[in-house]
């Protein structure tokens, strides 16, 4: 790869001690994101994808491991991070209903990042806010003075994106930004995000459970299961020939709408079993209980991440390092 990576996560571990035992939410994962790329972090509920994003954002400090952003270690809570770092890393949350304060107008909402980061004078800020709304294709005159409850879910998400852009960031975490929206609205948001990424040279960490969406959005895809990564690959290779049995299971479970899509789904693997509790992770490979292709070794030894011939990384005994 010729591009430099903007974010590197190395051996990241995040455990939550609870009375019932330790929840191993993120258990030793590593990946990096190149500048201008979109990494799709895909997993089912409880896979640890959101916790990973929260560690990157500094909502939780990692239990161990490194998070490196633009060459500097940032693995601490947000309140110990520099303002500059907060300016560069931004977030768009999943639920547009809860991510905008219902008691504040769009103008007030957009003004917070500008004031906190001392961008512009009072007078300039109004212009900046209008420009931000125009960037997300909302006419400022109609929206600045509205309260969030007066606008639709898709529009709320646009405002959340405008708020993220307010500080002129380098990197945005998108935490399931469209999963609460209908598909007919989703398209607009996704296209907007993709256009902005190109225009502003943004890098995205895109958290989602929707693999079909990732096919159309991500430059690389990473699959998580029970706090561990199963497979990371460039999007096209990933969908052309998925390797990890869990990936295959996910792909085969997706409901699709056309014949061409049906032909792309792996046929031989059928979904079975449920995700075990992250307090009681099975020994060996955590997926072995549900794996149709398990080997005797799988219940004993946890496989390592192994780089394959084409550069992709898979964590499975079926695919040892070459």
């Amino acid at each position: 790869m010729t591009q430099t990576s903007i974010l590197t996560v190395d051996r990241l571990v995040k455990h939550f001690p609870t009375k019932a035992g330790t929840v191993r939410a993120v258990d030793d994962i590593a990946f990096d994101i190149a500048t201008g790329d979109t990494l799709g972090l895909v997993g089912e509920s409880g896979s640890g994808k959101t916790t990973t994003a929260q560690c990157v954002l500094g909502i939780y400090p990692p239990t161990s491991g490194d998070i490196v952003f633009e060459g500097a270690t940032i693995g601490v809570m947000f309140n110990r991070r520099s303002k500059e770092l907060k300016r560069k890393i931004r977030i768009v949350f999943q639920d547009p209903g809860s991510s905008l304060n219902p008691k504040r107008t769009i103008k007030q909402i957009l003004s917070v990042p500008l004031r906190v980061h001392g961008i512009g004078t009072d007078r300039e800020r109004l212009t900046t806010m209008s420009r931000l709304l125009e960037m997300v294709e909302l006419p400022p005159a109609d929206y600045l003075y509205k309260y969030p409850q007066a606008i639709g879910g898709g529009e709320k998400q646009m405002v959340a994106i405008a708020r993220a852009l307010a500080t002129n960031p380098r990197f945005i975490v998108l935490d399931e930004p469209t999963s609460a929206l209908d598909v007919s609205v989703q398209g607009k948001i996704i296209n907007l995000l993709m256009r902005l990424a190109k225009e502003l040279n943004l890098t995205y960490l895109f958290i989602t459970h929707d693999l079909s969406l990732m096919r159309n959005v991500a430059t690389r895809v990473a699959i998580m299961y029970l706090g561990k990564l199963c497979e990371i690959a460039r999007t096209e290779e990933f969908f052309r020939s998925p390797m990890h049995p869990y990936t295959n299971m996910l792909l085969s479970s997706i409901p699709v709408v056309t014949e061409q899509e049906e032909s792309l789904k792996p046929k031989k693997i059928v979904s079975q079993g449920e995700i075990p509790s992250p307090v009681n992770i099975p020994p060996g490979c955590s997926f072995h209980l549900r794996c149709p292709e398990r080997l005797p070794i799988c219940s004993e030894v946890d496989p390592e991440m192994a780089i394959q011939e084409d550069g992709r990384v898979v964590r499975c005994h079926l695919f040892p390092a070459r």
Partner: protein, 354 residues
């Protein structure tokens, strides 16, 4: 999506014990804080407790001796320490009004109040629940409207007003109910075993006496319970209406569950949980409302003792009264929590464990 709660059966009993232990510890802490607060106010206020205790006729020397005895010349923490140590031995000091140990007074007066309050709780629970359920189930009917109107009046009328009006109407004008007190003046009360006259009479084999006592209790108990009937009725109604809109009730209906079973089993159980919580709170509030009602009905109970203590600035008694009510409140809340654990499996499974 919420993760499942995994608790083993054996763990359940332990959870419960741990929970009760925790709650007892918390209550102890709160009572300690309460005693500190009330003791502090009792000591910092202007005036001389020793003088107040002995009255105007005592000599300066006598007062000074009592000051020594009560450790009033010591700094506040030392005073508090001595008071706390006496408390451990069941000694709350002497009442400056009755000139008897406060503990003796409380033991004597408390049963009369508890008898009254329990009766009032029973009345308000039964009437409140029944009207609440009916009003909720037949929402927007004439009954709902009427009970709403009455409950507004119930909440807005102070208990002393209710007490006076009931006494005035039923006892003085209509002569349907007996007057004040626990028993008519000429009648000797049964030997005290529990302190509850109704029960003591029955123990002594005097059913007639129990009936007389019960008659005496009706008016004050009703005066006490009016406001609680209104409140509990409203809460039950809200809860019923809320639960009727829940998906699971729709699902039960869709599966063709018989409607009597739907209402009295599947709707009622989740709906009474908030009412039970409120009933616990209400028990404590009954104790404070009893202050007024006992005054009006000359009920020889703890609450009237408390009012007398307050009117006479009887410091030791005031401190003791507040603590006793705090203790009762804590115990009732613990019982309520245990009942709720029994009713609501989510609470039962989540407490203590994961």
């Amino acid at each position: 999506m919420r993760p499942p709660l995994i608790v083993r059966k054996a763990g359940l009993k332990r959870n419960m014990l741990i929970f009760i232990g925790k709650r007892l510890f918390q209550s102890l802490f709160v009572l300690f804080g309460l005693s500190l607060l009330i003791f502090f106010i009792a000591r910092v206020m202007p005036g001389d407790p020793a003088r107040a205790a002995l009255g105007f006729l005592a000599t300066e020397e006598q007062v000074e001796r009592l000051r020594e005895e009560m450790h009033l010349n010591d700094p506040f923490p030392v005073q508090y320490y001595h008071w706390l140590r006496n408390l451990m031995h069941g000694d709350l000091g002497r009442s400056s009004y009755t000139h008897r140990p406060v503990t003796t007074d409380i033991v004597q007066y408390l049963p009369a109040t508890f008898e009254l309050i329990l009766f009032a709780t029973l009345i308000s629970a039964i009437i409140g629940q029944v009207t609440g359920v009916l009003a909720g189930y037949f929402r927007n009917s004439w009954f709902d409207g009427l009970s709403r109107l009455v409950s507004y009046l119930g909440i807005a009328t102070p208990s002393f007003v209710v007490a006076i009006l009931l006494l005035f109407i039923f006892s003085q004008v209509l002569k349907m109910a007996p007057g004040v007190g626990r028993l008519p003046v000429m009648i000797t009360p049964p030997p005290a075993v529990t302190g509850f006259i109704t029960i003591d009479s029955l123990l002594a084999g005097r059913a007639d006496l129990a009936l007389t006592a019960l008659k005496h209790m009706i008016l004050p108990a009703v005066s006490l319970s009016v406001i609680h009937i209104a409140q509990e009725g409203r809460i039950t109604r809200t809860s019923i209406v809320e639960n009727m809109q829940k998906d699971y009730i729709t699902v039960h209906k869709v599966h063709g569950i018989r409607s009597s079973r739907l209402v009295f089993k599947y709707l009622l159980k989740p709906s009474i949980i908030p009412t039970v919580t409120v009933m616990g709170l209400d028990f404590a509030f009954l104790m404070s409302n009893a202050f007024l009602v006992e005054m009006v009905y000359m009920w020889p109970g703890f609450s009237r003792y408390a009012v007398t203590a307050m009117l006479n600035k009887d410091l030791n008694a005031i401190v003791a009264v507040v603590l006793v009510i705090g203790l009762t409140f804590a115990l009732v809340n613990l019982i309520v929590d245990i009942i709720i654990m029994g009713l609501d499996p989510t609470v039962r499974l989540r407490r203590g464990g994961g």
